[in-house]
Symmetry: C2
Subunit: 382 residues, 2 copies
């Protein structure tokens, strides 16, 4: 298979974007990526989206977005894996180029969550309807159970969860496109409203509209489009037990671990080589569980890394320099692509106040549901 590069990116601000429709968000992000590369037509489009149908009554987003980009005719499909839809779209685009089937491919994610849908219940369709949602649990409850299991197994505290939120808001305050571009204190997090014990409001990612896009091509053509390509070194996708109750240890995310080992194997690098990472902190507990499943800490060890400042800007492994899902926002189908955009900017030295010095290799991890699907990509500055 061929080596593949990302040559440009586009991203809308994330937030409550009442004035912009689903299709216009997509076009805004996609057009930015295309214009930066001086490209007017691509060979394929992959749309990452969890539920245009339930959120705004619009499925069939592949041809809709191709048409609204002025590219009717171009092959275009939607890829869905709940909140990992963006990462899954990036992966499909990556293999489309790597295989030699296509040269210029756009991978873009979008979600419009603030247009009146019953968001918590729409998101819950990514959980198991028969064994979970039917009984009344939605994602705050599922992640609260993961947090309780983690606390019981490893002595994790509410302060540990809160430290993740403080750190990610600190990063997000430096991030121009973040939905909540402000610092929060440990006290504010610890005193925010209880959502699902032990998870409080400031442990939860917000409801967000937004879109993000990246343009891929064979590495040997990258110079036509940019002088700063970033190579995709590896891609790993895994599924796991769908329902939380089926997992022997709900505090360890098997699919994340498996997707990471696949991506590391393909990339030929290890955890020690990663300079910067974006991970799926849909709830603060998720960042701890993901860092452990990725192998950056032993099970139960991510809280200590966080307390020691190692995952903050200036630490050994800055995590979620974009602000993460918590502060940047989480338009679910766009998140996996937005993570790639942040890593791209870091590896190109374009991250401004959030810049990690000498970042050469970066990782993005995007998760679906309570961890039933996970996608990991590893990127390298060329």
């Amino acid at each position: 298979m061929r080596e593949v590069a990302i040559v440009s990116a586009g991203m809308t601000p994330f937030g409550e974007l009442w004035e912009t429709s689903l299709r216009n968000l997509f076009v805004q992000a996609a057009r930015e990526a295309l214009e930066k590369a001086h490209v007017t037509r691509v060979d394929g489009i992959y749309v990452g989206n969890m539920s245009g149908g339930q959120f705004v009554g619009q499925e069939h987003l592949g041809p809709l977005m191709a048409d609204h980009l002025g590219m009717a005719g171009v092959p275009a499909v939607r890829i869905e894996s709940a909140c990992a839809s963006g990462g899954a779209a990036l992966r499909t685009a990556f293999f489309d180029v790597a295989s030699g089937a296509s040269d210029l491919v756009l991978a873009a994610g979008v979600e419009k969550m603030n247009d009146g849908a019953d968001v918590t219940n729409v998101l819950a369709t990514a959980a198991d309807q028969e064994t979970e949602v039917y009984h009344g649990v939605t994602f705050p409850g599922l992640y609260a159970m993961i947090a309780r299991a983690h606390m019981q197994a490893h002595g994790t505290t509410e302060e540990d969860l809160s430290a993740v939120s403080v750190k990610n808001h600190h990063h997000g305050a430096l991030s121009p496109r973040a939905q909540f571009r402000m610092e929060v204190t440990l006290e504010q997090v610890m005193n925010s409203s209880m959502v699902a014990e032990p998870l409080r409001l400031l442990h939860c990612s917000p409801v967000t509209d937004g879109a993000a896009a990246v343009l891929l091509c064979p590495l040997d053509r990258a110079a036509e489009f940019t002088d700063r390509p970033v190579k995709i070194l590896g891609s790993g996708l895994a599924s796991g037990s769908f329902a939380l109750a089926d997992r022997p240890d709900p505090s360890f995310l098997d699919a994340v671990s498996l997707s990471a080992s696949r991506a590391f194997q393909m990339a030929g690098v290890g955890v020690a080589d990663i300079d910067v990472a974006e991970v799926h902190d849909c709830f603060s507990i998720a960042e701890l569980c993901v860092l452990e499943a990725l192998g950056f800490a032993k099970p139960g060890g991510a809280a200590e890394l966080t307390r020691a400042g190692e995952t903050a800007l200036g630490g050994k492994l800055p995590v979620n320099t974009s602000g993460g899902l918590k502060s940047k926002g989480h338009p679910v189908g766009a998140t996996g692509i937005a993570q790639a955009v942040e890593i791209l900017e870091q590896l190109r030295d374009e991250a401004g106040a959030r810049q990690v010095k000498n970042a050469t290799v970066g990782l993005a991890q995007n998760m679906g549901g309570s961890g039933a699907s996970s996608v990991v990509h590893i990127f390298e500055r060329v």
Copy 2:
């Protein structure tokens, strides 16, 4: 890229399957395909599904289905392109194997439409919410407008539309898994209730539950799994103008024509080489438009082919020997895979009373929306 074969298939009966859930339909079809090939684990799963979220409150079908097949861990994603979701899933699986990324890949489609959702409005989310559905039109209305345009341009009559239904029910009566396994007369079709003038009830495909699955592998490994592999010669996907009003000629389906030319080019064969075809007759007018866009007839010429019996069993090019969407049923996300199952059986001489003699090369065409997306696959007996 590598040559790719389909080595086995599975399919549920199509119909109102009140006793079986979405996940169990999927597992039933997938398990049949796996067991026939003596396979217990695959390298990847692609789930074709239009709207599990809106129909039964379940998104995130990749990992759900992998888990319920006993394959937690296996990479699994959902592919959506409205009613072309099945064909798009088959295409993604095809390139996954062709690229060398995976060896054994399952492509399966499923839809559960009879569990209480407002089906016509759910399906309408595949049309343009802003310029079509907002104004009250749903798919019967959109295809009625296509029929009117075809009548005006080519003199097509209600009898011409009805002849398609009569022919497809004739085939479906011979098809053990068809939802409506019965003949209908021209008089019955012409006197059935009006749905959207000029389309009557018996010009419309039904609301259907069902699933279908095919197992793919590199052609050079096919003998491990079957002595009757069928090779995928070519695959073409295209988008087109999303809204009907944006098309210069609503009676000609540009995306179908483009997807066909891409598939024929890849396959290195032409229309004259096709011995049997399954095409997307969601409404009877669609079969005529599709046959013309595929190049089997000139624009306006498909009605004459149909009247002459050329598209019936025994004719020069039997079309929809399965009964088509009209008689076999149309569980939207499963349809594209079910078409491949029929072509597989034809090319393997397994089609029983529906068998086309000496069928060597077959074609399947699967459409999304009012023709905004189309996937064409061409298959050859090995």
